[in-house]
Symmetry: C2
Subunit: 132 residues, 2 copies
């Protein structure tokens, strides 16, 4: 079990957008170069972020992506959910009663992690990070 590279790309892209304090949108070319990933693939990832309402895209010349108003409250968990999906990490498909104790334990542990990720925003990092 691993977090996908896409999640890593998404987090880094969000951080990059947050730190480029410009109102103009940033082209996917620029963003892709930073992370050495193909622009087309990165655009697919960004589309997910757009659909979740974290990022806006502008078509045409001088177009690109930029953070939505109120981006300061976007948490790590929001971004991870957008890429990985919102479903639980552990699912027991056996039919041994309505409640699987093992599943309960796993979900409680997962909740602990999510709680941490929910309380951490991209904005928290902007102050600390100097170079991208």
């Amino acid at each position: 079990m691993k977090y996908s590279k896409a999640t890593n790309y998404a987090l880094h892209t969000m951080l990059h957008l947050a730190m480029s304090n410009t109102t103009k949108p940033v082209g996917v070319q620029t963003l892709a170069e930073q992370q050495q990933v193909s622009p087309t693939y990165l655009s697919k990832i960004l589309t997910k972020l757009v659909k979740e309402g974290m990022v806006t895209s502008v078509s045409g010349a001088n177009g690109g992506y930029s953070l939505v108003h109120g981006w300061e409250s976007i948490s790590f968990l929001d971004i991870i959910y957008a890429i990985e999906g919102k479903s639980s990490l552990f699912e027991c498909h056996f039919n041994h009663g309505p409640e699987c104790l093992i599943q309960k334990v796993m979900l409680r542990a997962e909740e602990k992690m999510e709680e941490e990720l929910r309380n951490q925003t991209i904005a928290d990092l902007v102050n600390k990070e100097t170079t991208f």
Copy 2:
């Protein structure tokens, strides 16, 4: 990102072994029937648990698997590590300085989950669980 079915099988098998309060080893056939999984596949999973020293195997007739002495202290995390591996869930492979702030956040969150899984043992469930 999902926990593998193998992890689910491993956890349920451990719980089953813990609850079958017999000194005799339990055959993989029996264990596989409980979870409706093929015996050969389950044996592969059990081999991992044997290698990590949580389970012992006895060859030959009347052979099978049984928990090691001191199994009461085996945690969820031990079992998960045995199946999924011990490596971190999130790894940033970019070369932007020695420490990636994003990675730091992810690792801290992951630690929270592992802490919970480390403090939960199979033995904890044996008392609560009545039927398998």
